[in-house]
């Protein structure tokens, strides 16, 4: 199946959504994104990691190294309070945007 491009500006929203449930490492995030999007989205590490680093630098995420279930060390990202606030704002905005787009498309 052909993969879709991730719409501009929504990658941050999806990363935050995935991390709100539990802290996760970069590879886990990319796998979870594929599963949750029913394999429509595959995020390129060249896009994922810059987003993660910027969100961390902005204080939305906090990163720490710890062991995985397979006894490997991995860098886990966890949502901060600021990240949660940002998630709510972005989700609210996304809801309005998608509602608006759907309305337009159905009205046509």
């Amino acid at each position: 199946m052909e993969k879709l491009d991730i719409p501009q500006g929504t990658l941050d929203l999806m990363i935050l959504t995935i991390l709100v449930r539990e802290p996760m490492h970069g590879y886990g995030i990319s796998q979870r994104l594929a599963v949750l999007s029913h394999d429509h989205f595959r995020v390129n590490p060249g896009s994922l990691f810059p987003s993660l680093y910027r969100l961390e630098q902005d204080g939305k995420l906090k990163a720490e190294w710890r062991g995985t279930e397979n006894n490997r060390q991995a860098k886990y990202y966890r949502l901060t309070a600021a990240g949660k606030r940002q998630l709510e704002q972005h989700r609210e905005r996304w809801n309005r945007v998608s509602f608006a787009i759907t309305s337009v498309l159905e009205g046509a």
Partner: protein
């Protein structure tokens, strides 16, 4: 995220960059490991699983680079790397880097030097409290106000607290300091009592002057400058309370002003500062300065709190209408009193102090700023062509970087950073050049008997100017080469044979012609200034200044007796000696009203007056045309006699012999009848640029009242030896005077300072411009020959003569220079109109000057052309054809 947090995170990133880089590596490795493990689980072979995971990642370095770019402050990091790369690049080509840095240093240094002079004279604020608040008070006809005030007006202004919180008058002054027999002149200032209060300066020792010191009868006190304290008193701490002998009377030192503060007159250092009210006691002949008729003090003031400058002006004018009557001298003629009463006040910014040099040098300095910016433009063009020439050799490197994915913008930025780096190195060297030459610049503007002292040490104005200039310069010479280099299609560049890629830029000849044009403009300007100086110096002043020594004596109530000169005439080397009230080009003039007897005497002055003793004309070698010189018999009790100059005679006695005629004149307020006994050739008294003025010489012995007296000697042989002998004799004859003997020629020379400065600097910069332009021309030709070695070799092999090969190079150069001249000539004509008012004795379109400049340009260009042409003619066909 707030700005502060963002800033903090950038700082963290920079500080922890190494750890963060390691972190990135670890994290990406983990990512690949995990992906590989999953792929293996999906049934791929281990190595294949890993390969797929790597493909998935898309290259560790690329991802890391994208992370770096995405982070805040990532750009800082990149620029840091660009700078390091640029530094490596400069180091790999030290020869070229040195040439570029030196070229820029000359251009930038010239700008910095002229700017620092401009800054010191025009822009530098006084080292006082809140200098921006200070205003300079002016008075006069609207739009033509002057900065000088009488002592009573300066005091009255200081008393108006509703207008000014403080106001003070000041003027430079020469004090006669020391015990009789060893009196020296010390430069300083006379000020009103509120001077230091107005400026807001604090003493380093003792106290400064206060209003109480500036009263008639107050104890005589002085404040000395920090430099004088260190030089003269070895900075001894018990200086307060010491006495100085000033004008023969003891004066108590009450304090030392701070280091760096040298008074409010720019270009002068006040070693001694005394209250104006002390004048009658330290120099009785100048006592009249405190009266209403003498305008000699500049006034600086601070407007009162809440009073704007326009409000202050309005209140000043209202005040003046009420009090002008009491402050204008009753001794003045009615028209002057009326004009003075109708005067208005104006305020101008006063934070930069005051100097007469400002009026004199504003225009010359602006012209020089324009000149040096043209020099810098030429230097930029030079460097740009060097970079363009080198660009061809860098094209492979750049094509390679473009091919492996660097953006064009990124490479352009990299190249511009390289330009900025060399430009800043050039700025640093230029700053050093400027600092080294600043002494020389100050001596160029020094005029008169006292040195101009201005602080040219680099301050933040100058540093900021140089830095901004460096960056602007980098953009000016770097942009075009950077854009040109990166435009190439990487694929074809990399494929092509290395020799074929060196397609030279079409801009190169354009840049060279442009340099020739600009240097022609400067050469013509320099020629015009040099010719003006020659013309001014060729003006016959009407007297012979070589071999004449002058010494000013204190003014006195009555003229010195004529036998004062008797023993001075006996000094070996003295040919003749005389006394006069004024000497040519001393800066002081005396004018009175004088007309043929029977005509009404005008209120306004119409002739220069000079009091002269017997032998004055012989000493000055002013030619006597008719009648006689003054003699010993023209004494005070004899009928008044005068000698007029030709200019006066032509105006008032056209086509008549003036000798024997009588004049009606006002001399020092008294109406007098004077007989003309002689006619002399006109001599210049002030500006050589103007025609000599009508002058009436009166017999020195027949004058009375306060007389400035200068003794004039004509000397045969060594001026220095005779000068020493005269000084020794005068020290015994007038022990209370400071004996400073100077040659008349120096006094005359000082008046053509501005012309000399323009001629020296304009020709210096003009030569620099031509040399730079010729280096550019040489570079282009040499580069062209080097590039075409193979072609030239083939031509020679096919039988071309050496002459033909040389002609080929010379023709190319001639074309470039010709285009430069054709463009430069009209530019020069347009530009020279701007300096027309500074020229003397020639038009800006002077054919000789223009032809001379073109000739000089062509001669210099020959040197630049000859070497590459000779080299081309010596190409060995065998070596050239083997050459890769």
């Amino acid at each position: 995220m707030t700005l502060l947090q963002r800033f903090a995170s950038i700082v963290r990133w920079i500080v922890h960059r190494n750890r963060a880089e390691a972190d990135m590596d670890d994290e990406l490795r983990t990512f690949v490991d995990m992906a590989a493990a999953d792929n293996e689980r999906d049934g791929h072979e281990r190595s294949e699983a890993r390969r797929l995971a790597m493909i998935d990642l898309g290259g560790v370095e690329q991802v890391k680079e994208r992370i770096r770019v995405a982070r805040h402050g990532g750009w800082l990091d990149e620029i840091g790397r660009d700078v390091r790369y640029a530094a490596r690049n400069c180091a790999t080509n030290p020869g070229l880097t040195t040439v570029i840095v030196l070229t820029l240093a000359l251009g930038i240094g010239a700008n910095t030097a002229i700017f620092s002079l401009f800054d010191a004279l025009m822009l530098r604020l006084l080292p006082v409290r809140d200098p921006q608040q200070l205003v300079q008070v002016r008075i006069g006809e609207p739009g033509k106000t002057d900065v000088h005030f009488s002592y009573p007006i300066a005091r009255a202004l200081a008393d108006r607290r509703d207008i000014f919180s403080t106001a003070a008058g000041f003027s430079v002054w020469s004090f006669n300091v020391g015990a009789p027999g060893s009196v020296v002149v010390v430069r300083g200032a006379l000020v009103t009592g509120s001077f230091y209060e107005t400026l807001g300066v604090n003493p380093v020792e003792g106290r400064l002057l206060t209003r109480g010191d500036d009263e008639i009868g107050a104890p005589l006190v002085a404040v000395i400058g920090h430099g004088y304290w260190v030089r003269q008193f070895a900075a001894r701490p018990d200086i307060v309370g010491q006495t100085l002998t000033v004008g023969g009377v003891p004066v108590t030192v009450v304090g030392v002003s701070p280091r760096g503060f040298v008074g409010a007159t720019v270009g002068e250092i006040a070693d001694i500062t005394m209250p104006a009210a002390a004048v009658p006691r330290i120099q009785p002949d100048a006592a009249r300065l405190l009266e209403r008729g003498n305008f000699w003090l500049r006034v600086l003031a601070r407007p009162a709190d809440g009073v704007s400058a326009p409000q202050a002006t309005t209140r000043l004018n209202a005040m003046w209408r009420q009090v002008s009557d009491t402050l204008i001298s009753p001794g003045w003629p009615a028209f002057l009193r009326k004009r003075m009463a109708e005067s208005v006040f104006e305020l101008s910014p006063g934070g930069t102090g005051w100097t007469i040099l400002r009026n004199e040098y504003r225009r010359p300095l602006l012209v020089l700023m324009a000149v040096v910016s043209v020099v810098l433009l030429i230097a930029c063009a030079n460097v740009a062509s060097m970079l363009l020439a080198r660009a061809s050799s860098r094209q492979r490197e750049i094509a390679l970087r473009l091919a492996i994915g660097a953006g064009r913008a990124r490479i352009v930025r990299q190249l511009l950073i390289e330009s900025t780096l060399v430009s800043l190195m050039g700025s640093a060297v230029g700053l050093a050049f400027a600092w080294l030459t600043s002494r020389f610049l100050v001596t160029l503007i020094s005029s008169g008997p006292f040195d101009v002292v201005v602080d040219l040490s680099p301050n933040w104005h100058v540093l900021g100017f140089t830095l901004a200039l460096g960056i602007a310069t980098a953009l000016a010479f770097g942009t075009v080469p950077a854009l040109q280099t990166t435009v190439a299609d990487p694929a074809s560049t990399l494929r092509a044979d290395s020799r074929m890629t060196t397609q030279p830029s079409r801009l190169l000849p354009l840049l060279v012609s442009g340099q020739v044009a600009l240097s022609l403009v400067l050469l013509i300007g320099a020629g015009l200034f040099v010719r003006s100086l020659q013309n001014v110096q060729a003006v016959d002043p009407g007297f012979k200044s070589e071999g004449v020594l002058l010494v000013d004596l204190n003014a006195r109530q009555n003229p010195l007796p004529l036998d004062f000169l008797d023993d001075l005439r006996q000094v070996p080397g003295v040919v003749s000696a005389s006394m006069s009230t004024h000497t040519p080009f001393s800066g002081a003039l005396w004018s009175e009203a004088a007309v043929p007897a029977g005509q009404p005497v005008p209120e306004r002055d119409n002739a220069l007056f000079v009091g002269a003793s017997p032998d004055f004309f012989a000493t000055m070698q002013i030619r006597l045309v008719a009648g006689r010189e003054f003699t010993d018999r023209d004494a005070a009790d004899r009928p008044g006699v005068v000698i007029v100059n030709r200019a006066y005679a032509q105006r008032y006695f056209p086509n008549q012999n003036p000798v024997g005629q009588h004049l009606s004149a006002t001399v020092r307020g008294q109406r007098r009848d004077l007989e003309i006994v002689g006619l002399v050739e006109s001599a210049h008294a002030a500006a050589l640029r103007n025609a000599p003025r009508s002058t009436v010489y009166v017999a020195y012995s027949q004058l009375s009242g306060n007389l400035p007296t200068t003794v004039t000697f004509r000397v045969a042989g060594s001026l220095a030896q005779t000068s020493d002998a005269i000084r020794r004799l005068l020290q015994t004859k007038v022990p209370n005077a400071a004996i400073e003997i100077r040659p008349l020629s120096a006094q005359v020379n000082a008046t053509v300072n501005q012309e000399r400065m323009m001629a020296a600097l304009a020709s210096g910069f003009g030569l620099l411009a031509v040399v730079l332009a010729c280096i550019g021309l040489y570079g282009l030709l040499a580069y062209g020959v080097a590039r075409r070695v193979k072609e030239i070799g083939i031509r020679v092999a096919l039988g071309a003569e050496q002459r033909r090969i040389m002609t080929m190079v010379v023709k190319r150069a001639a074309r470039l220079v010709l285009v430069g001249i054709v463009v430069g000539l009209p530019a020069a004509l347009a530009a020279s109109r701007w300096i027309e008012s500074m020229l003397f004795g020639l038009k800006p379109t002077d054919v000789m000057t223009i032809a001379g400049a073109i000739g000089m340009l062509i001669i210099t260009a020959h040197v630049a052309v000859y070497i590459p042409a000779w080299r081309a003619s010596r190409v060995d066909p065998l070596a050239a054809l083997r050459h890769e």
